[in-house]
Amino acid sequence: MPTATKAARSRSTGSALPRYLLRRLGTSIVLLFGVTLVTFVLTALVPGDPIAAALGEGAIQNEATVEAYRERYGMDRSLPERYLLYLLALVQGDLGTSIRTSRPVLEELSTALPATVEVAFAAIVVSLAVALVLGTIAACRAGKVSDQVVRVVSLVGLSVPTFWLAIMVYRLFFMQLGWAPGSGRLSPALNPPPRITGLYLVDFALDGDPVGFIDAAAHLVLPVVVLSLFTIGLLTRFIRSSVLEVLSTDYVRAARAKGLSSRRVIVGYLLRGASLPILTMVGVAFGALLSGTVLVEAVFAWPGLGTYAYYAAINLDLPAVMGVGLVVGVIYVVINLVVDLLYGVLDPRVRLG
C-alpha cells in the first residue's frame, strides 16, 4: 500500500506541469474567441461611414457603385452572418484586404508587428533590469537617502509625458548631438535582413551581418530610452513595494540566519519570493508597451503597429482596424498565457496545487 501511494504521488507530480499547461491553453482559446467577437462588434458599431470614406464624395452618389462595394466587402449581409464569414476567413489566415492599400491585412500586420515587438521587447528588458536594481536597493534601504532618490526618479519617470519626452530626446540626441539615429529601423543605405522572424536584430544575427546588426541596434536606442522611462518608473515602484513585503518574512530572516551572502539572500530568497507579483506587473507593462507605442512610433518614424493603427483609423479602413484590434487582443492573451505558465514554473504551489 505505501509503495502504491508513493508511485501515485510521483506520477501526479510528474504530469502536473503539462496538465496545468493544457488547462491554461484551453482557457486561452476561449479567450481568443471572445477577442474576435469584441473586435468584430466594436468595429461594426463604430460611427462613421467606411464606404463614404473609401469611395469619396463623387462615387458615393452612384447607388450602383455603393451597392457593388457593399456586396464586395460583404456589408449587405446581417451582422451574425458577417461575423461567421469573418471567423471562417480568420481560420484560413485571411484577415481581409485593406481598403486603403488594397493589400492583405495579414501581410501588412506581419511587417508592422515585428517592428513593434522588437522595440517593445527591448524596452521591457531594459526597464526590468534597471527597475530590479533600483527597486531592490530602495527596498533594502527603505527610508534612507538612496531610497528617497530612487522614489523621486521613478516619480519623474511616471510623470513625464511620453510624447514630450520623445520630442525632446529626438531633438537633443538626434538632431543636435547626433549620438544616435532618430528615424526608422535602419539607415537608408542598408538593406533589411532576409526575413526570418521580422525582428531586425535577430535576423541580422542569424544572417551573420555585424554591420546591419549594429545599425539596427543603434536605431533602437532612442525609442527604447523613451519607452523605458515610464516603464522603469512603474516597475521600480512596484518592485520596491513587493520586495519590501518579502523583506520582513521569516524565510528571508532564516536565509540570513544560515549565513548566506547578501547577494544569495537577495537573488535566491528575496527576489524569488517577490517574483510572482513582479511577473504579473511585467506582463501588464509589456502589453501596454506593445499596444501603446503610437506616439513614440510617430516621432521616430518607426513603421510599427502604432503607425499602422493610426493610418487605419483615420482612413476608416475597417479590415485593417479589425486586424489591429485582433492582434492587440491576441497579444494580451498570449502575454497572459506566458505569465501564467511562468507562474507555474516559479511557484510549485501553482504547478502542483
Binding site: K6, D250, K258, G259, L260, S261, G273, D347
Partner: protein, 266 residues
C-alpha cells in the same frame, strides 16, 4: 560542563529615533554544551529579541551593547562577512512558524543544501546525501523523495523537523530555538521536543530555547531563565525553578500554568 556561548550584560534598543525603547536590559546567560537553556517570559518581554541579537538579525536601526562571546570571538562587533561565517555554521536558528521560515518556492533539497555548500564547500551530490541522512535522522519519511518536494507538501510538524534538519546541517555548536513548538498542535509538540532533546544529547549541542510556554520549558530545559520587561528576573536549574521559585513574578507565572503539564508532555 563547558560554556559555548556567553551573553554578558546584553542590551538592545529598538524603534524610531523619537521613540527609542530599551527592549533588552542587561541580560547575562551562559549556554553550555549538551544542555538546553530555557528562556521564558510573556510576549514582549524581549526573549526573541535576545535570540535575534546573538546572530545580529535585528534591523539595522537596532543598537546592541554588551557582549556575545563564543570562545574567543566577540560576535557583537563582527563585520558582516565574518558574522556570516558564524551564522548557520557555528550558531543555527529555528523559528516559530516553519510554514513561514521555509521558502515556499524552493525545494526542500535546495534549502537544506545551499548553506552546506556555501559553508563547507561540498559538492551538490555530497550535500544532498548529507541532507537525506539528516531528514532520516529527524524522522521525515522517505527522505530521498522529500528532497524534491516543497514545503506545502508537508504537515506542520514535518516542516519543523525539516527546519531542524536545516539548522543542524553544518553541525553547529549552538542552536537558537525561537518558540519552536508554538505554532504546532499539542500532539505534535511532544514529538518535536523529544527530537530536540535527543539531538542535544547526541550532538552535544548548546540550545537556547525561547518559549512563553512553561509546559514546554519544564519538559525539556535543563536550566530556566525568566525574563520580564527586558530583564532577567530569575535563573537557575529547572527543578529548583519549578519547585522553589524565588521571584514573585516567577511564582505568578507558575500559578498561571495549568497543573500537571510537566508530566503530560514527556
Amino acid at each position: 560542563m563547558s560554556t559555548v556561548l556567553s551573553l554578558t550584560d546584553l542590551a538592545v534598543e529598538l524603534g524610531p529615533k523619537t521613540a527609542r525603547r530599551q527592549v533588552v536590559r542587561g541580560v547575562t546567560l551562559d549556554l553550555v554544551a549538551g544542555q538546553i537553556q530555557g528562556l521564558a517570559g510573556e510576549s514582549g518581554s524581549g526573549k526573541t529579541v535576545t535570540a535575534m541579537a546573538v546572530l545580529g538579525l535585528l534591523p539595522g536601526s537596532a543598537t546592541v551593547s554588551g557582549s556575545v562571546r563564543m570562545g574567543t570571538t566577540e560576535l557583537t562587533t563582527l563585520r558582516k562577512r565574518e558574522l556570516n561565517r558564524v551564522r548557520g555554521r557555528r550558531i543555527a536558528m529555528i523559528f516559530q512558524d516553519p510554514s513561514a521560515s521555509l521558502h515556499p518556492q524552493l525545494s526542500i533539497g535546495a534549502q537544506l543544501t545551499d548553506h552546506v555548500r556555501h559553508h563547507l564547500g561540498m559538492k551538490r551530490k555530497e550535500a544532498r546525501g548529507r541532507a537525506a541522512e539528516l531528514l532520516d535522522r529527524v524522522k521525515v519519511p522517505d527522505p530521498e523523495s522529500a528532497l524534491n518536494r516543497y514545503p506545502h507538501q508537508f504537515s506542520g510538524g514535518q516542516r519543523q523537523r525539516i527546519a531542524i534538519a536545516m539548522a543542524l546541517a553544518c553541525e553547529p555548536e549552538v542552536l537558537l530555538a525561537d518558540e519552536p513548538t508554538t505554532a504546532l498542535d499539542v500532539t505534535v509538540q511532544a514529538g518535536i521536543l523529544h527530537l530536540l532533546r535527543d539531538l542535544v544529547d547526541e550532538r552535544n549541542l548548546a540550545v537556547l530555547l525561547v518559549t512563553h510556554d512553561l509546559g514546554v520549558m519544564s519538559a525539556v530545559a535543563d536550566d530556566v531563565a525568566v525574563m520580564r520587561h527586558g530583564r532577567l528576573v530569575e535563573s537557575g536549574a529547572r527543578r529548583q525553578m519549578f519547585t522553589d521559585p524565588q521571584h514573585p513574578y516567577t511564582r505568578q507565572l507558575l500559578e498561571a500554568m495549568p497543573d500537571a503539564q510537566e508530566s503530560e508532555i514527556l
